[in-house]
């Protein structure tokens, strides 16, 4: 589907979930959706025969700590791709600092499991309904979430294990 018709389709069909259209990401469509409607939106675009977004290519997050124009501090980004239609849709959801949590996408795409653990580990955003949300890259006992912009880049933590 071409980007204009794709955006039009998403906006008209899922009007109650979509907040607005985000700037194109290198020629691919991007939409912002409501946090409360995220899980149903993701499940719907996956099974929608016209969109057929059957692959979750990536799931990541951003920290807009020093961006005054941003109302919410975090943004979680889903990169969805359709193998049959060869089109891509970026789904963004804004997450406030006071309650950093979104619904887990694992029931929709099992591939979201490790991505969500990584986002939890690095940004401290919780995914409600995730089957086992624990750190994936950093060790147990690590304090804080290192990719948050307010984590001091040169902060040292005690080394774990038999070293101490």
């Amino acid at each position: 589907m071409r980007i204009e018709s794709l955006l039009e389709h998403v906006q008209s069909r899922y009007a109650d979930a979509v907040v607005g259209v985000a700037p194109e990401v290198r020629g691919d469509a991007a939409v912002v959706v409501k946090r409360a409607a995220l899980r149903t939106f993701l499940a719907a675009v996956k099974s929608d025969p016209e969109l057929d977004l059957n692959i979750l290519m990536d799931l990541t997050a951003l920290d807009y700590l020093h961006w005054e124009e941003k109302e919410d501090r975090f943004e979680v980004v889903y990169n969805l791709f359709s193998l049959s239609k060869n089109h891509r849709l970026f789904v963004k959801v804004r997450v406030p600092e006071s309650d950093p949590a979104v619904d887990s996408a694992v029931p929709v795409w099992p591939a979201a499991d490790w991505y969500e653990r990584e986002v939890w580990d690095m940004f401290g955003i919780r995914f409600t309904g995730h089957p086992g949300l624990k750190r994936i890259l950093m060790y147990e006992g690590f304090q804080g979430h290192p990719l948050r912009k307010d984590y001091p880049y040169n902060k040292r933590q005690p080394i774990i294990g038999p070293v101490n």
Binding site: M138, Y139, F142, P146, Y151, Y153, N154, K155, R156, Q157, I159, I160, G161, P162, V163
Partner: protein, 162 residues
């Protein structure tokens, strides 16, 4: 020097012999380095090129990597050590038998290098003792051989425990 069994004579009694023996053992040890390559990152490439025939560490008697710490004399720490890897490195070091030496290969192992961040150990000497530091990112093979010769010097000159 351990206790001497009844009927035996301590080696220390032969002071003229101890010094010669010391040299002989140092000579033997420095030319039969069994190394344990603890390779974690990009420096490994340079380690390999040093170890292979072009630069040929076997000329220095160090051509025999052992992949068991219990059989090796020198621990070559090659590449970035992360906080998650630090306990493993420490365990490997402790598994080695005396006498043992440690070579820090590359700036990552010497000081942490340019990784001033949440994941990297700022120099392996914060967790284990180091005998020779070979800086460079990665060090050139000549540099590595230089470090190896310095280590041999050190082994030769130290008071051997036997």
């Amino acid at each position: 020097m351990g206790k001497v069994a009844e009927g035996q004579v301590s080696v220390e009694k032969f002071s003229f012999m101890t010094t010669t023996l010391n040299d002989a053992i140092g000579w033997a040890r420095k030319y039969s380095i069994f190394q344990y390559p603890f390779v974690t990152a990009c420096c490994g490439m340079e380690y390999m090129s040093t170890a292979c025939s072009h630069y040929d560490v076997d000329r220095f008697g160090a051509g025999f990597p052992r992949f068991s710490p219990r059989q090796s004399d020198v621990l070559f720490v090659v590449g970035t050590i992360s906080h998650k890897m630090a306990p493993v490195l420490k365990t490997i070091y402790e598994q080695m038998c005396e006498p043992k030496w440690v070579v820090a290969f590359g700036v990552c192992t010497c000081t942490g290098g340019f990784y001033d961040n949440y994941a990297t150990v700022m120099g392996i000497d914060t967790i284990i003792p180091v005998d020779v530091y070979i800086p460079g990112c990665p060090p050139r093979p000549e540099n590595v051989l230089d470090g190896l010769m310095k280590l041999q010097d050190k082994i030769q000159r130290q008071k051997q425990a036997f």
